[in-house]
Symmetry: C2
Subunit: 171 residues, 2 copies
DNA sequence: GGCGGCATGTAAATGGTTACATGATTAC
DNA sequence: GTAATCATGTAACCATTTACATGCCGCC
């Protein structure tokens, strides 16, 4: 007897959707989409074309259940986590292989090639970046916990970048 | 008279290809692909299906030129940067909007939801991550400069994560 | 003589973006 | 009454991945 394992592993977007619902409770696809749209990373674009079909897929594979919560003629379908969805979420959340990954960071990529810029151009670019990093704001209506986490991440990034710069400027 | 602007902006992969060639001199598509495959980020997979057509595209749009460098019956086509390629590269490299972006980081994503894990599970996951971060190695045959940059980035990440953990573990 | 690395490429599938379309409801 | 927001969705397109296919060269 073969056990149906459905999708082998969740994509980052799928995992993040499940995690968001686990965190905030049942939500509409629209609300999920807005959460991602508010992210400080442009890689989480929160496009309808990604979110709606994705959540439908997650329901079909039994990780989400939806109920019609329309209070008027306007449609409103709320998705909640199933037990199996909770299980998969925990697997995704604690996936060490995924977590230990340099990720995809346009600034880190550029630092690797900063020596290709002449000193003047580099200084201007670095100045602009250094000024912009602390200005990165957390998504509006973020919880105090998320706000704190964001501030913390920004501070770490700032430290990293200015130390990197100190290293490079010496040359 | 209309000025042909061809592709509006380079993708991250396109920019990184141009930068790699600018850095190392003329290379084959195969060599480029291997550089990306060696990256510590799984997002730079360096697949032939991405690299070969991409470099052909960059040549068609005039950012690269290729010459046949076959020394035997085995084919070998080396791509070099054109002046226009150099220009576009500099624009890409100093794109502040791109550089100031939280990027795509599976670990950062997971930290945002770490409170969904029970204390025991969280500790195990964090332990594994904290142990794995310093073990992240730079690509083999990296230049001393790249090696240094990588070590520096790893150290910053380690600091960030352990401080984040200190913040969370208090709860 | 065979295996691993160099070198080129393509076809199909995936996962996501952009842009569009529709309509209900709320706030001004 | 009209603009913004809530809410749902789809179609076309895009960059990239996975998997495959081919063949040459050097080394053991």
């Amino acid at each position: 007897m073969k056990i149906e394992s459905s999708n082998p592993t969740l994509t980052e977007l799928e995992g993040a959707v499940l995690a968001t619902i686990a965190d905030r409770g049942p939500m509409t696809a629209y609300a999920i989409k807005e959460v991602f749209r508010a992210s400080p990373s442009s890689f989480w674009s929160g496009s309808a074309g990604a979110v709606y079909p994705l959540m439908k897929r997650l329901e079909v594979s039994g990780l989400l259940v939806s109920r019609d919560e329309s209070a008027s003629r306007r449609p409103k379908r709320e998705f909640a986590l199933t037990d199996s969805g909770q299980d998969k979420l925990l697997v995704w959340l604690t996936d060490v292989e995924r977590a230990v990954n340099a990720g995809y960071d346009p600034l880190r990529t550029r630092t690797q090639f900063s020596h290709l810029l002449d000193a003047d151009c580099r200084r201007r670019f670095f100045d602009a970046v250094e000024q912009a990093i602390p200005a990165m704001s957390a998504p509006p209506q973020a919880s105090p916990r998320l706000e704190k986490l964001h501030a913390f991440w920004v501070a770490a990034r700032q430290t990293w970048f200015s130390r990197f710069r100190g290293l490079v400027d010496k040359d």
